[in-house]
Amino acid sequence: MTINVAMTVNGKAVSGKVEARTLLVQFLREHLGMTGTHVGCDTSQCGACVVHVDGKSIKSCTLLAVQAEGTKVLTIEGVAESAEKLHPMQEAFRENHALQCGFCTPGMVMSAIDMVKRHNYQLDETTVRRELEGNLCRCTGYHNIVKAILAAAPAMKSAGV
């Protein structure tokens, strides 16, 4: 049995036929071909699949596609203003070498943007480390990810994003 779903992804109206069990991440990757959002585990532990749904960061492997019906979804592909102008968080990740293999990066960036906003652009190292509890990285040892998020917070504030 298939079900019709419709939502807005990165500002564009999209729709498709899915099975009831189809996860949001499967809808994004397999139906829409948006492979920037990754799957790194099967227990909602790694955070590689984090996207924003109606402005809140969620693990897209934990939500059925049908549950996202009518929502506004933002994925890593929709974060930058343009190819030339990255979001301040993406820029901070690059500046601070906060990524190596790149696999956890989309989820990290999505979690980090939400984190900065929830803390009203005011963060310290301890808070950032605690807030990253839902995102695993095996390459960087987190040192530079923490540095990047701390650098991005004021940059996001002054950019008004």
């Binding site: 492979t35 690059r94 301890t126 095996r138």
Partner: protein, 790 residues
């Protein structure tokens, strides 16, 4: 010239744009038209005989395209997976070599061994169909406890390896070592378990394959660290597809840490089945499959003894180790606890006599092979644990005891008693710098302050050495290695002056696209944005050995430098012709050929253009084009070394260990991109800290089930488990490669476990704790404290 992008500059990575915008392309991201999806049904038992398999109901399940079992694969005469390194035991006999079928035929030997491959129109349909496969197993007793694996009466895993023994190997002269122990003023003894780890690259292993009926060409996309080696193994040993009819592509790969070096059953099956199904096949491991079937790491049980004279000079070291191989021998498994472990047991010290005995054992667990550091972390853990224990027993400062025994800087090249000849090094300034950064002098004050808060504070040292960038090939061959250890490079100019650098190395996070471009930019004066580094595709890159063992820059980078020198040599001859000068008078500076003492100059780009449009060109003596190949075979290993200092606070009430400070000072020789090198150090340290405090692969002794089989059970280090790190460098250039570089990828993981555990032991010594098993989880620490209190 290009100081902002050349050697030594913190150049921002070229690869980041795609990774940051979700446009990287990993194996699972590939759009393949008409693709089918594979699911592997795996053994739920650690050891069992397969009495029967019935796939008939599953074949009728919706969407199923094909199902293969071990019998189908055996009937098709698919070869088994190979172990590529022959280790000879202490009697000169090659190691036992039990077969490793790509799919179990009549016996399963670990939880995760695959028994059927289901191919369907969707992954969910394949998985649904797997539930309809009926298998009648006769469960056999399992052997998962390494310490008992070689004991009489332990369940036998392969008839070809009686007593579960793969080899009993030794290095050094036991009688000489025993004689030195007899004369020692002090002997320190230590029993250690080097806990078993699961690599956990964030991208699960994946494979996709398609077969072109018209040309007979297979293409296999795989999460591989070494696509050429994978192709060679599949062609020559396993599938028999001629090498020129098999293209292996390793696109963006999300971390490897060794676990993606090896040739696995799953990718083999995907490739093999592609021609039988006639449609592309995709397979991506679920995380639980990664836990069960990625090759695991470490897993040693060791007894070590260190003999010292009355002043603390090391006289001899004696080490007995049992190393776990798992249920089958993986690609390089046999070399890890021998040539990559025992040969490192001299560490940074002048210990004149060393004897090591290593027994490799089979168990009903996932295969064990190289994982970040591979053998060298195990050696460092033995040496640095026993040195710190000796210091404590003899009441000598641990830094002082190390300094007293360091190989002096004047002694290089230094021949160790365990085969290796260290090429260069200068250890005392490293530990001095680490002590300064870590404020070792102020430690006792901090310990007292912590005590006032009810916390036990400790400090631990770890002075490691690593032998990496393996080579020369001839020596590797003498030691039983089945492959060469050179690397390839090709520098291909386009007529418009931009450059493609093709390398046999593979980047899965290391940033080669940037570092290698820096080398070429620096040497040839080409702007870095005009340089593209190409890797990971056997159809486009020259045959190469891939990336593992911290070899890419030392070996692959050296090959690039050799190719760059060939470009310059050819360019000189073109420029000499254009300037009507003698080749001997032409110099190359900042990207331009010049005749010394004149104003004649030809930019490299002009020479390249002339090579492609040879209207005014010495065609009689020089071929057109600018496309230079090089192969570099190293004359020795490289020997990075360093000291880490870890400071911890233990809560005696909960057993919780907090790392409050962590310092690493390394000598990696010359550094091309300090930003990337620091990233490698940070990541390595956290893998080492993970091993020391959290990570542990546990199999249930009774059932052989992998108990730590998910992120709910296997504790991965998270951001709030670790601090920020203090790193420093000392530079002793490698004397035998053109860049003067040493490897940096594994250092952090090699040194950190001993640094952390020594700190834990230092913290707990005042409450009478002698030993805490690794990982020092709150439970293990609490039990050690309360056991000691009894």
């Amino acid at each position: 010239m290009t100081s902002e992008t050349g050697i030594g500059a913190r150049v921002k990575r070229k690869e980041d744009q795609r990774f940051l915008t979700g446009t990287g392309r990993y194996v699972d991201d590939l759009p393949l038209a008409r693709a089918t999806y594979a699911y592997f049904l795996r053994s739920p038992h650690a050891h069992a005989r397969i009495k029967s398999i019935d796939v008939s109901a599953a074949k009728a399940s919706p969407g199923v395209v094909e199902i293969f079992t071990g019998k189908d694969v055996a009937d098709a005469k698919v070869g088994g997976l190979i172990c590529g390194w022959v280790v000879k035991d202490k009697h000169g006999q090659p190691h036992k070599s039990p077969p490793h079928p790509v799919m179990a035929v009549d016996t399963v030997r670990y939880v995760g061994d695959s028994v059927a491959m289901i191919i369907a129109n969707s992954y969910d349909e394949a998985k649904d169909a797997a539930e309809a496969i009926k298998i009648d197993y006769e469960v056999l007793p399992a052997n998962v406890d390494l310490a008992k694996a070689l004991a009489a009466g332990a369940p036998q895993i392969h008839a070809e390896a009686p007593g579960n023994l793969i080899y009993d190997w030794e290095l050094g002269v036991k009688a000489d070592v025993d004689a030195a122990f007899a004369k020692a003023a002090h002997v320190t003894k230590l029993d250690l378990v080097n806990n078993r780890l699961i690599p956990n690259a964030m991208e699960p292993r994946a494979a996709a394959a398609e077969y072109d009926k018209g040309t007979g060409q297979y293409t296999l996309w795989s999460t591989s660290q070494n696509p050429h080696v994978l192709r060679l193994i599949l062609s020559a040993f396993v599938l028999g597809i001629p090498e020129h009819k098999l293209r292996v592509v390793a696109p963006d790969v999300g971390g490897g840490f060794g676990s993606k070096i090896f040739c696995y059953a799953d990718e083999t099956m995907v490739c093999w089945a592609a021609s039988r199904v006639g449609r592309p096949i995709k397979w991506t491991a679920e995380r639980s499959e990664s836990f069960q079937t990625d090759c695991h790491g470490r897993d040693h049980v060791t007894h070590a003894e260190l003999a010292l004279d009355k002043d603390g000079k090391f006289l001899a070291l004696r080490v007995e180790t049992i190393a776990n191989m798992g249920a089958y021998l993986s690609t390089f498994s046999t070399a890890v606890p021998t040539y990559l472990y025992a040969t490192l047991l001299a560490g940074q010290y002048t210990t004149p006599l060393i004897y090591a005995n290593v027994k490799a054992a089979l168990t009903n667990t996932a295969p064990v092979d190289a994982y970040r550091g591979a053998g060298r972390p195990e050696a460092t853990f033995v040496i640095e644990s026993i040195v710190s224990k000796a210091a404590m027993e003899m009441k000598i400062d641990p830094a002082e005891l190390r300094r007293k025994n360091f190989i002096p800087s004047t002694a290089f090249p230094y021949q160790t008693p365990v085969a290796l000849q260290y090429d260069s090094g200068n250890y005392p300034p490293i530990i001095d710098e680490a002590i300064k950064i870590a404020d070792y002098k102020g430690f006792e004050g901090r310990r007292a302050e912590a005590k006032s808060r009810g916390k036990l504070r400790g400090i631990g040292f770890s002075s490691y050495i690593e032998a990496c960038g393996l080579g020369p090939s001839q020596v590797i061959g003498q030691l039983g290695g089945g492959v060469g250890q050179w690397e390839s490079a090709q520098i291909k100019f386009n007529p418009t002056g931009n450059v493609q650098v093709l390398t046999g190395s593979h980047s899965h996070g290391q940033g080669h696209e940037t570092t290698f471009a820096q080398l070429v930019s620096d040497r040839l004066g080409v702007p870095i944005d005009q340089i593209e580094v190409v890797h990971g595709d056997t159809a486009t890159t020259p045959f190469g050995m891939g990336t593992y063992g911290s070899r890419s820059l030392a070996v692959g980078g050296s090959a690039i430098m050799k190719a760059a020198d060939k470009v310059i040599a050819k360019g000189k001859r073109i420029a000499a012709h254009l300037m009507e000068a003698s080749v001997a008078d032409v110099v190359f500076e900042g990207g331009t050929f010049k005749v010394a003492g004149t104003d004649k100059a030809v930019p490299l780009g002009a020479a390249v253009f002339a090579a492609y449009v040879p209207h005014n060109y010495p065609l009689a003596e020089l071929e057109p084009g600018m496309d230079e190949n090089a192969f570099y075979d190293p004359s020795n290993f490289v020997y990075p070394a360093g000291t880490q200092i870890c400071e911890v606070e233990v809560d005696p009430d909960t057993g919780e260990v907090e790392i409050v400070s962590f310092t690493a000072v390394d000598d990696f020789g010359n550094i091309i991109n300090p930003m990337i090198v620091e990233g490698q150090v940070h990541g390595g340290i956290v893998q080492g800290v993970g091993q020391a405090l959290m990570e542990n692969a546990v199999y249930d002794e009774a059932t052989g089930q992998l108990v730590s089989g998910s992120y709910m059970d296997y504790t991965m280090p998270r951001a709030d488990d670790v601090p920020s790190f203090k790193v420093g460098y000392k530079v002793t250039p490698c004397p035998h490669n053109p860049l003067g570089v040493k490897g940096c990828g594994e250092a952090g993981a090699i040194a950190a476990p001993a640094a952390v555990m020594n700190a834990v032991h230092d913290a707990l010594a005042p409450v009478g704790v002698g030993h805490v098993p690794m990982p020092a989880t709150p439970l293990n620490v609490w039990q050690a404290i309360h056991g000691a209190a009894k």
